[in-house]
Symmetry: C2
Subunit: 167 residues, 2 copies
């Protein structure tokens, strides 16, 4: 099932990778998360993340992929693990020649809630309202991914926006 002008937002993580897709009319297309079994060795978990992203791209054929540009992390080891998960996103995108856009978390919140300091719950409630969902999107990783997709859609629509930083 290919959709026109679908944007895929991704919130990568080794435990949970959230994803959210919206179309050009800002209707929700799909959202959810990839949860590789935690008992698997890391390499096999990244393989599952990569192949699940490939399957999403194959199914929905997005015109753009949005990810976060900045992360708040406890230490270097957490940053490397996050980087490994984010690397799966960039590789899956590059293999299909889909541009990747990066947004600071504040920018994604600004696009959805109207201010950059919004709480996770405020983001979930506003996405529910904007996308007319029956419930706030769960888990929060999927909500964050939808926020990135909405933010990316705003920017791609705006003719006076300066070019986005593509990864």
């Amino acid at each position: 099932m290919a959709n026109k002008n679908v944007i895929l937002g991704i919130d990568p993580g080794t435990r949970i990778t959230g994803y959210g897709l919206i179309d050009s009319d800002s209707h929700p297309v799909d959202f959810g998360c990839i949860r590789p079994p935690p008992k698997l060795i890391l390499a096999d978990r990244y393989k599952i993340i990569f192949e699940s992203l490939e399957a999403l791209i194959e199914r929905y054929q997005p015109i753009a992929i949005a990810v976060e540009s900045q992360f708040v992390l406890k230490n270097v080891q957490s940053a490397i693990k996050l980087g490994m998960a984010k690397g799966m996103v960039l590789l899956a995108a590059a293999r299909k020649s889909i541009p990747v856009y990066e947004f600071a978390p504040k920018k994604a919140k600004l696009a959805v809630v109207g201010h950059g300091g919004a709480s996770k719950f405020q983001v979930q409630k506003m996405i529910q309202a904007l996308l007319r969902l029956p419930n706030p999107p769960e888990p929060e990783d999927a909500a964050d991914a939808l926020a990135l997709a909405i933010c990316c859609a705003h920017h791609l629509r705006s003719p006076c926006t300066s070019p986005l930083k593509a990864c």
Copy 2:
């Protein structure tokens, strides 16, 4: 050209990914580095790293892949970029069901030079001697990758070594 019991050491990096292969008799098989053109966007650089690793694995069919477990990095953004490059290694390995072993940098230096605080130059000189190379291996990323392969070979040979941490 498939070699028996070849071990592939990799020193991942977004700018330069060093690789080094040795066989079960600790003879050098190949070494060098992957340098994606720096003018490319990040996603395309990781694609080149991933596909170059896939080609190395296809060519030499290693029984094990060795990478560093710890990295000294300036900041979170550097750690995420390093993680993305390391993610390419883990994915390429997982897609061919090749086990990945992680070693602390000190352990790799210990295996090659005899003490964990060796300089880059000492590592290069000792690898030249151990592998009977005409010159010290260049660049240092390739030398580091060969050191990881040598370290991994020592551990796989030793029956009394406790099981290694596989990624």
